[in-house]
Amino acid sequence: MTITELRSLSQTQSNKAVLAPKKPRWGSYTVYAGLAAILIYCLAPFYWMIVSSLRRTADIFDNSLLPAPFSLENYVKVFDGSTMFGQALLNSLIVAGVTTAAALVLGIFAAYAISRLNFRFKSVILGVIIATSMFPGISVVVPLLKFFTNIGWINTYQAMIVPNLSFAIPLAVWNLTTFMKSLPFDLEEAAMIDGCTKWQAFRKVLLPLAAPGIFTTAILTFIHSWNEFIIALSMVNDPRIQTATVAISKFTGATEFQAPFGEQMAAGVIVTIPLVIMVLVFQRRIVEGLTSGAGK
């Protein structure tokens, strides 16, 4: 028996408590060591970004684990106006918000039709909608770039929102359909027997029941749209319309060798913080949403 086998055996034993715990301490140590390794793996790069953002420009190349003189200098610089970062955050919020709202409205109707109504080619339609989510972003961007140039949409919000729907709608339809299918039809049926119309049954029975699923879908769609890069990069070159992800990628200094890393890290932290808060608050829902499709 190798050491790893021994170790894993002791893990099994200590955790499942089936056999007498011969080496309980060793077993729990390896479990905790493994978990600590996972935590370091996931959080260390992110932690490094936060620490670096809190250093002064002068000691940005320090490799100490804590910012030696703690400084908010980078954060002040990020918002000092020359980069229009505040505007970029607002743009991201507008683009991601409208994309999410539009995808949800269309997605709810489509998901209702697919999960509650009977019609021909239902699975084909669902299949096509899901297949579209595999469509590479660049294959959307190149033709639409030319089209939007012709109709004068370059440097507008809609030039980002409409292409964003190419991934947001499939995501929303897929998630909502899975969720609505898991809800019992009986309640709506009972409501309709009691004299509700289909619309009333949908609005007063199904919609409240589906609210958690809709909420989960909204979070996922919002995160995806917030993180979107290639569409925003291609459709917009005016810094006033740029989204935050594009803005930070263009945060370059005078020369390539003197990139303002402190500011970049600070901006990165600011862009990521809303998502981290969402993840911490709604982690259970996010995991459910991510896994519901794959688990079926």
């Binding site: 894993s8 992110f46 039709a113 579209t132 469509f135 961007v141 033709p143 770039l145």
Partner: protein
């Protein structure tokens, strides 16, 4: 009724998916030309070149660049997805054992997933700086973000960091629906941890794992943001098909850009179809059958371990 409810979705998808696809195919048959006509005026126009854009991909300078981008895309997809799968499985196995602090773990594992790719590109660019923390910890002086093999490694590390947790989460969800009784029974039959892993856990999470891997494959094939931000556009050693197409359209060469976009689309479609075929072939076999097959296989391999 159904048609009414589905039509808005259909219209939008037609505009953002079907139209671009048809337009890209159409566009890829034309070449933009800027020339001087007989009277000395600058003319700009498009000429029909048939499959000329595609033929150009196979020859000349453009051909080398295309083949390089194609090779990079394939290389990154294969390396990152296989590393992610292995790491994701390990993450899921470790998290499946954790009882205390599981929700804290789950939140922290979601963080790499939630960090925008552009931000993670910047973050790793900083880590891989020539006098940055990576070289400091390794005691090396590697130029990670310049051209060359080191930049490939930088991209792979950054990509795997961000996406292995995603696979881990999906696989963990698959593991948690496996009933405890199966393990109890296996233990009574004297199966050790490795046997349980090989004969129970892996076969039962396989459907979930395959879906997760498919998602990741398709996503890795269109990789753009990470090499773009981490290393930069126009660098041979990390240029992917998406980056090449973007660069061409940036130079207003829509014809060849469309050809690249169409090729990438076909590549993604072929991988998806092949994968689903493999997946479909698996779904037809019942779980019990597969479990039994695995059991006999591992029994054969049993004495060796």
């Amino acid at each position: 009724m159904a048609a009414l409810l589905l039509s808005p979705t259909a219209v939008v998808l037609a505009l953002v998916i079907a139209y671009p696809l048809i337009s890209a195919i159409h566009q890829s048959l034309y070449a933009d030309q800027t020339g001087i006509d007989a009277d000395g005026f600058v003319t700009e126009g498009e000429t029909f070149v048939g499959l000329g854009n595609y033929l150009n991909l196979l020859t000349g300078d453009a051909g080398d660049r295309f083949l390089n981008a194609f090779a990079n895309t394939t290389f990154f997809t294969l390396t990152t997805v296989s590393l992610e799968t292995i790491l994701g499985l390990i993450l899921a196995l470790a998290m499946n054992r954790a009882f205390r602090g599981r929700s804290f773990l789950r939140a922290s594992i979601l963080i790499p997933w939630a960090v925008p790719t552009a931000v993670s590109g910047l973050l790793w660019r900083w880590i891989f700086q020539s006098d940055g923390i990576a070289n400091n910890l390794l005691g090396s002086e590697i130029l990670w973000t310049a051209e060359g093999a080191a930049s490939k490694i930088a991209v792979i590390v950054a990509e795997v960091w961000k996406t292995a947790p995603f696979i881990g989460l999906l696989v963990l969800a698959g593991m948690q629906v496996i009933p405890e009784e199966v393990y109890e029974a296996a233990k009574i039959d004297g199966a050790g941890w490795w046997r349980q892993l090989g004969s129970i856990t892996l076969p039962l999470v396989k459907p979930t794992l395959l879906v997760a891997v498919l998602f990741r494959l398709l996503d890795a094939l269109r990789m753009f943001d990470l090499p773009f931000v981490l290393i930069g556009p126009g660098k041979d050693s990390v240029e992917t098909l998406s980056m090449l197409a973007w660069d061409e359209s940036n130079q207003l060469r829509y014809g060849s850009a469309s050809a690249f976009a169409v090729i990438l689309f076909l590549y993604v479609a072929v991988v998806a179809v092949v994968f689903v075929k493999v997946l479909g072939a698996d779904v037809t076999g019942t779980k019990e059958l597969r479990l039994a097959r695995k059991k006999t296989r591992s029994q054969k391999a049993g004495p060796a371990s």
